[in-house]
Amino acid sequence: MARRCLPWLALASLPLAAPLLALEPPSTVARWAAACNGCHGPEGRGSGAMPALRGQSADALAAKLQQWQDDPAAATAPGHVMARFAAILEPETLRALADHYGTAP
């Protein structure tokens, strides 16, 4: 980022191969959250009947997902969609997503 402070001419004369900012693939939790936001709205802030995830307590979010994982009978509507997605989350991803959206207790 320091290069941004250089005078324009110096910046323009940088060889093309010089990186301004390196590429870094998104983290696992960032990729999962992007998938969740497709239903739960921008940054998980909710959208119509799709509940907001952001702003709930992280423990409550984790508990809810855990409950769907533990109890296959919870796969009744309308929670059946979530029960399916919860079923394929690794424990560490589940916790990381709860922490990503949730507030500290």
């Binding site: 191969a17 900012l21 390196a22 009744t76 509507a77």
Partner: protein
Amino acid sequence: MAPPSAASSRGSHASVLILGAGFAGASLAWALKRWAPNLAVTVVAAPERYWTCPFSNTALLAPTDLGTLEVRYDAFSGAGAPTLIRARVRAVEPEHRALILEDGRRLTGDKLVLAPGIELATEAIDGYDDAAAARFPHAWEAGPESLRLAERLRAVPDGGLVVMTIPPNPYRCPPGPYERASLLAWWLQRHRPRTKLLLLDGKDRFTKDALFKAAWEARYPNLEWQGLSNGAGLRRVDGKTGLIETDFDRFSPDLGNVIPPQRAPALLRRAGLDGGQGWCPIEPTGFESPLAKDVHILGDAAIANPMPKSAFAANSQGKACAAALIADLAGVPRPDPILLNTCYSLVAPDAGIAVVGSYAVKGGRLESLAAGSGLSPSPSALGESVSTVRGAEAAHARGWYESIRVDAFREGGSRS
């Protein structure tokens, strides 16, 4: 901000060129800008206006709603946005990762991603010509076509006949015809109570068929479905006389909605990217074409089964491909793709059903994860709560639609 790794220096000035700003192309473009803001991302989309197909069946019931389906692409002119070029692409040169625009311009990228949707294979239907297209509006690309179908519906007399013909697999939006049929039956029941809706299907089984059929049985005595084994396969249409002919029968409906079979657009097939199959094969970790290095194909044009050709799947593929492209350009291994789908369908304006799918790469192929896949419960499993649950899923369908428009196109707060 994470420190740059040695391997990633190569990618910082890299560029990605995308054909198509539908659910796949737009989702990819924004995911790239979010995860790699310095990447040069250019999207080329046809100059015609774009309406979403999702919720276009509902718009048939209230054509004034059609305008709400239009995507305006306002966010693409903001800071940090992908560059959007509204122009028609005339040719693809996979070996040069190049797009040739109709005005003669030639664009290239380090990565080329093709997401142009579908083309209607109308010559597969005997007798299909301009007169047939005008007489039997398909409305399988939303916009003026949807309006035409809605207007023709209103001209159907009471006591008349409406016929829908449904193509064999694969085609855009597997449950779409059955959602449309449900909503047409709902409308007819209220406005043309003695008019019949006949579905002529080019197959015997379809997605969510038990759930759709249970809803039709409970709600729509005016709807009749005939499958391929009933002789319902489409033989011929005649736009001048208005005739629709199947293997066993012929009909002269007051309204015909003929949904033609489909395939990847000619642009891709002419470049050899379909390998002669009509749709384009991909390898599923990054949706790269096995026929052209650094050329990736997303959305309806790709063979991504068991993922369906849906807007949800296109959006999910866009995000998964973004992560793969960044990994490729950074010179690190691609992550395992996260690929999900949920197709919500309305069986009435206030009743929804859903099919859910989760996918993983196994042995180089895309497979459904059994634990992450399933359907809305049947009416018998739900008992008395059926209308509550179907009502909740109709509300979720609308919530999803609002979310996905913001997610794919970064539309502003006006809709929320």
